[in-house]
Symmetry: C2
Subunit: 104 residues, 2 copies
DNA sequence: TTATAATATTGTAAATATCTAATATATAAT
DNA sequence: ATTATATATTAGATATTTACAATATTATAA
């Protein structure tokens, strides 16, 4: 009864791959707390400018994040809050102590 | 306030990678409906025996699925129901029409 | 206009992941 | 014992991903 079309599974797996990387997932976790410009994300993650930019571009192209230019800075934010929910599920799996008794 | 330790992020990204593949995600979707033996998963996914077995092994080693021998068959099941929840979040993103008005 | 700061893009070598084919193992049936 | 069935493992060629360095772009400041 849960018949998911193959094409959707393919796109979903591509979306997953877009966050299945230590640095990209780290960025996502920081963006959950609010918009951040590239510079802030560099400091928060310790990644190099070039490397971070490439990963941000990848996530933007996959529809995970979106960006917006303000002055000379570019601010990124999570495109669909469901990606934040997905991170919360991950926390339930890998950081159960942080989730305490909260249900999904 | 949502400070997630880097080590957890690393492990979570590894877990994500373990399902961020069309075939592996497809298997996961089938396992949501209940335990399946390798043979059934072969038919359901159309993958070759060898290829499927390798992907199942990878998911088992990453703690996504677990298996159990019954007679001459090996049945796989989702190890932690939270992985099923994660697939549901993906459905909200990529198959919204299937989720109708259900919240997470 | 020149310089500086913030971000993006490109080229590329190294690492990782993937698939197929072949082979191995273990269990059940004859 | 032999054969058949179900699943796992290994080897190797190809494809994809990654990180770093260098360069480009764009907007602001001097």
């Amino acid at each position: 009864m849960n018949k998911i079309p193959q094409e959707k599974i393919k796109r979903a797996s591509e979306g997953l791959r877009a966050i299945a990387h230590e640095l990209r997932l780290s960025v996502l976790c920081h963006l959950i707390e609010g918009d951040k410009c590239v510079h802030e994300l560099m400091e928060a993650t310790g990644a190099s400018q070039s490397n971070l930019s490439q990963h941000l571009t990848k996530m933007r192209m996959m529809g995970i994040v979106d960006n917006e230019k303000r002055g000379q800075q570019v601010f990124y934010h999570i495109a669909d809050p469901a990606w934040g929910d997905l991170v919360h599920v991950l926390q339930h799996i890998y950081c159960p102590e942080m989730c305490a008794e909260q249900p999904l």
